[in-house]
Symmetry: C2
Subunit: 364 residues, 2 copies
Amino acid sequence: MGQSITFHKADQLKKKPDAGQLGFGKYFTDYMFEMDYTLEKGWHDPKIVPYGPISLDPAATIFHYGQEVFEGLKAYRAEDGRILLFRPNKNMERMNQSCARLNIPKIDEKFVVKAIKKLVAVEQDWIPNQPGQSLYIRPFIIGTDAALGVHPSSMYKLLIILSPVGSYFGNSMSPVKIYVEDEYVRAVKGGVGFAKTSGNYAASLKAQTKSEELGFDQVLWLDGVEHKYIEEVGSMNIFFKIDDEVWTPALNGSILPGVTRNSVIALLKHWGITVKEKRISVKKLFKKAEKQQLKEVFGTGTAAVISPVGFLKWEDHVIKVANGETGKLSKKLYDTLTGIQTGKQKDELGWTEEVKVEKEKVTE
Amino acid sequence: MGQSITFHKADQLKKKPDAGQLGFGKYFTDYMFEMDYTLEKGWHDPKIVPYGPISLDPAATIFHYGQEVFEGLKAYRAEDGRILLFRPNKNMERMNQSCARLNIPKIDEKFVVKAIKKLVAVEQDWIPNQPGQSLYIRPFIIGTDAALGVHPSSMYKLLIILSPVGSYFGNSMSPVKIYVEDEYVRAVKGGVGFAKTSGNYAASLKAQTKSEELGFDQVLWLDGVEHKYIEEVGSMNIFFKIDDEVWTPALNGSILPGVTRNSVIALLKHWGITVKEKRISVKKLFKKAEKQQLKEVFGTGTAAVISPVGFLKWEDHVIKVANGETGKLSKKLYDTLTGIQTGKQKDELGWTEEVKVEKEKVTE
């Protein structure tokens, strides 16, 4: 693409929130990145502008036919002051896979990584540096045609917004309670389950609120065909430590191919631990638990990184995992991943990319 | 609700498009209806305002987690000058069913019908009166919270926009070519297939463009579990005339409960024709065709009303239906439905509602 990114200075900057009350995705920084697509020009006019409302025709595709993809990644402030991104190329690669499924024109992956770096460089003062904190990066694309025929949009907007965040499930790494959902379905093979698109999340809300009403934190999704096989948990991938092996559902078309999932598998293999990506029936899992072979359960995702699971309920069966506490392997994975992400630990697998503020400088 | 709808006059009105070039959902009228929802106030501040862009925070729920529902209905100009709506209460009833699935707060159905009537009364000069033409009405609700945690939004906007339209598939009632999709899936039981929500349409685009590339007009969806049973066609419900009976897939949780579908079933029964809502395998359908028992195929929907199907392709099998022409029953249903809708034919089933302009008058 090689286009230069223009910069529009804000008249006034916001007061930054207290580090202690960040939560997740509640505060947004002073600037955002914006880029447009038309059939004639392709992706064009990349710019960093003051964060603010976007104005769309009420007939825009996004409001009616949901043509949308998004990504989530984080920028970390290392103890030595460096700014680190974690595998941004993997997110952009997945964004293009999502685009392909949703009939959205592809992005230039390298260019969008560059846009992320420039925006993060501009907003470097917004990167929080307490343990578990980071600057969450949310790129997303929406169809913007003002037309009601059911067709792929001919115009799109790509935006990147930034939010300083604490850890997703509050500040502790306390295990979550999971409910195996047997009524609602998140996705099915042939659908859009593998894509990071808004419709998957819209469809998940009902089961999520149901699980909260029942006193659980998250839902464990089963496959949409037989309601037998484990897919993912809430908006995370899921892993099970069975004796000395680690199992996780194989990517089958209806499961989101998580970047953290991919990283956990790589780390475990790097440590010499056997990882099996396979079809896992909930029945088999509960049998393993009965035989005391289920040692740990944890979810993986960009927002939570590693989220240990302490309780699992399926129909009338209840499992207390690792005595309801955080297992050793879950803890080691969390410490290692966050260690790499924040530059505290050696990045043996070459996953981090530094944002060099001087190099990414933008001018008006 | 009993709230009064305020009216904000536009400075200038648009030039109306030529009746001959309307197409579908390309032009929008001078005004739109808008209403907001907050946890504190519920649905409030209903107003008719000049049609124009809506301004949303880039973190709004609709852009990330797709919380959206919509409806589609039409206003017709009768020959005697009356303005008629077709079963608007059915659309509002379904909108609330969609809301329940998508965690969107319910609407006051009667109040929104009233809002539709007021808006249509204001825009009566926009109702086209050529055969096949009408004023398409699109109510929709979007979640607008500026927050990135995956949770139901606490704020919503309901909008109603209007578009003068011709017939959906061009001006003739010429039969369409249908391709039985065996790779992509639209919906599955436990998902959101029965709800009119944007994610279903986003998921359908890929198969639709594939069918167009293969030289077909629309896709026939099979069930997401076994890929054996017929669900719906494109964005319409589907009917088959088998000898003297009419079959249509039963509502199973993954099929949209169409208002036109419901009306067609009622009409056929009113005429003494046997209608069977049942599970129909594509194999059985093609067997029936082989035995010359498949007499007609047609899709039903608000946009197209009745859309005859002339060709069906499934794997290597091809069926030419009714010699590739519009069947008698399809034609009779189209004439009767559009006759009732436009006041030409007696409304024996009490389906139309008149918009009385004087009664619906709004003032600034």
